[in-house]
Symmetry: C2
Subunit: 257 residues, 2 copies
C-alpha cells in the first residue's frame, strides 16, 4: 500500500495562531502532518536563525495523523530542527502559514513565513508559503481552503524545480477570490515612519512603522495587483539571486588594477 | 565646489567590531561617512526588523568627516533609521561590513550584513556588502583595502542597476588575493548539526550548529570557488527573486478548477 505523503507545516505567527490551525485542517486528509511552529510570534524575523540561544522543543499533541510541536526559535529554525531532529528525514512538502497579513512584493524579505518556505527549498524540499491579506487574528480563512488544496495537490504531484519555492498571497477574507494568478514580484518598497516617543527619564526612543508603496500600481501581472484585484497570487521565487545579465557588464572589473 | 559623496556604513557584528572600523578607515578620504551600526552583534539575524521593541539611537562620536552612531536594532533597522531619521535623505552609497566570516552561497540568506546591503537597494541606493573568510575578531583586513576602494570607486562612478546590490567576499586574511572575480551564487547548503545537551533539571536542549556543503565544488565561476581559490568574489544580487521561466510552466494552474 502506498503510504501517504508527509507534510511539514510551520509559520511565523506561532503555533497558537488561527492561520496555522486552519492550514493543518485544510490538508490533513491529504497527508500525514507534522507541525513544528515557533513557540512565540516571529513576524518580521525574516530568515534569522538562533545560534546564541539554546533551542527547546516541546511536543504539544499527537494522534494517528497529526503531531504538533513548538520550538523557541524562528520559522527557519523550525524547518531545520524538524528535518534533522524530529523527522530525521526530509518531508515531501513544507507548507508555511497561513500568515495573518500579506507577504507580497518586498515584504517577503522581512517575512518569517516566506523564510520558512525558502528554508525548505534550501533543503531540497518543495515548499510553499501562504499568506492572507488580513491582519485580524480572527480573520476568516475559509475562502482559501480550495486553493490551498489545489496548490498542495499540484506540488505533491509535480515537484517544484530544485531552486524554486512558491509565495502565495490571498485577498482579504471578505473578498470573493476570483482564482489563481501566476505572478511576478511587485516593484515597491516600505516607506518607513519612525514614531518618536519619550521615556519618563531616559530620553527619546522610536517605533518602526510604515506603509507599503507600489511603484507600479497599473501593472496587471504582479502579486500586489493580483491580491488587490481579488486573485490569489502565486509567485515562484528562485533562491539563486544572481543577476546573470549584470555579471557580464562588470566582468571588466576583473582587469582593472 | 562639488561636495564629497555621502556613504552610509553598517554591519552586523556591531559598532565595536574591527571589520567596520577598518571599512571606515579604508574609504574615509573618498566621502563623508555616517556610520549607523547595531549596538549589539546581529549575526544570523538576516533581514529581521524590530517592530515590537523600541529603538534607541546613540551618537558615539563626530568629527568633520565621520559620524558614528549605534542603534539597538538589526542592520536593516540601521539602514532604515539612518535614511529616515539621521540623514533625512538618501546617501550616495551603502556599505555593509566588513563581516567577520564569509557570506557566500546561501549564507547570504542568514546574513545580517548582506541584508544591510539589500535594504539599501530596496531604498534605491547602490549598496555593497563586504565579508572576509575569517571569523577571528582580530583578523587582518589590510589585504582587502585596495579592492574595497576600487569597488567603492566603481560603484560611485557607475551606479548599480536599481534592483542590484553586490555581495563581496574576500579570501582568508592569510591568502594573497589574486584579484576580483565576478561570480554567480554557489549552489550549496548548510548541513545542520544540533548539539544535544541537558539542563540540570529542565531536560534536553539543543544548539544549532552545522557545516557548509558545496554542491558544485568543481565549478570555476561561483563565489565559493573564487574565495577558496584566492580571489575576492563579487556577486551581483537581484532583489527581484521571480523565476520568470517557471512562471510560464505553471500558468495553466490559473485554469484548473
Amino acid at each position: 500500500m502506498h503510504q501517504k505523503p508527509l507534510i511539514l507545516i510551520t509559520n511565523d505567527d506561532s503555533f497558537r495562531a488561527n492561520g496555522i490551525k486552519q492550514l493543518v485542517d485544510f490538508v490533513k486528509d491529504m497527508a500525514r502532518i507534522v507541525v513544528v511552529a515557533p513557540k512565540n510570534p516571529m513576524s518580521a524575523k525574516s530568515h534569522s536563525i538562533t545560534v546564541t540561544e539554546p533551542l527547546w522543543i516541546h511536543k504539544i499533541s499527537e494522534d494517528d495523523n497529526i503531531t504538533w510541536y513548538h520550538l523557541n526559535g524562528t520559522p527557519a529554525d523550525c524547518v531545520k530542527f524538524a528535518i534533522h531532529e524530529v523527522l530525521k528525514n526530509k518531508p515531501d512538502l513544507v507548507l508555511s502559514g497561513i500568515n495573518h497579513g500579506p507577504n507580497y512584493s518586498v515584504s517577503q524579505f522581512y517575512s518569517g513565513t516566506v523564510a520558512g518556505a525558502i528554508e525548505g527549498t534550501l533543503n531540497g524540499i518543495p515548499s510553499v508559503a501562504f499568506s492572507l491579506n488580513d491582519f485580524d487574528s480572527e480573520a476568516d480563512f475559509s475562502k482559501t481552503r480550495e486553493y490551498i488544496r489545489q496548490i498542495t495537490r499540484n506540488v505533491l504531484q509535480n515537484p517544484l524545480p530544485t531552486n524554486v519555492c512558491l509565495n502565495v498571497n490571498f485577498p482579504n477574507a471578505n473578498t470573493k477570490t476570483k482564482g489563481l494568478k501566476i505572478c511576478r514580484q511587485t516593484h515597491g518598497k516600505w516607506v518607513e515612519k519612525f514614531i518618536e516617543q519619550s521615556h519618563p527619564w531616559a530620553g527619546k526612543y522610536y517605533w518602526l512603522s510604515g506603509t507599503f508603496t507600489n511603484f507600479e500600481p497599473d501593472a496587471g501581472d504582479n502579486d500586489v495587483w493580483a491580491v488587490e484585484n481579488g486573485f490569489a497570487s502565486v509567485l515562484p521565487l528562485n533562491i539563486d539571486m544572481t543577476d546573470y545579465k549584470f555579471m557580464e557588464s562588470i566582468k571588466h572589473w576583473e582587469r582593472i588594477e
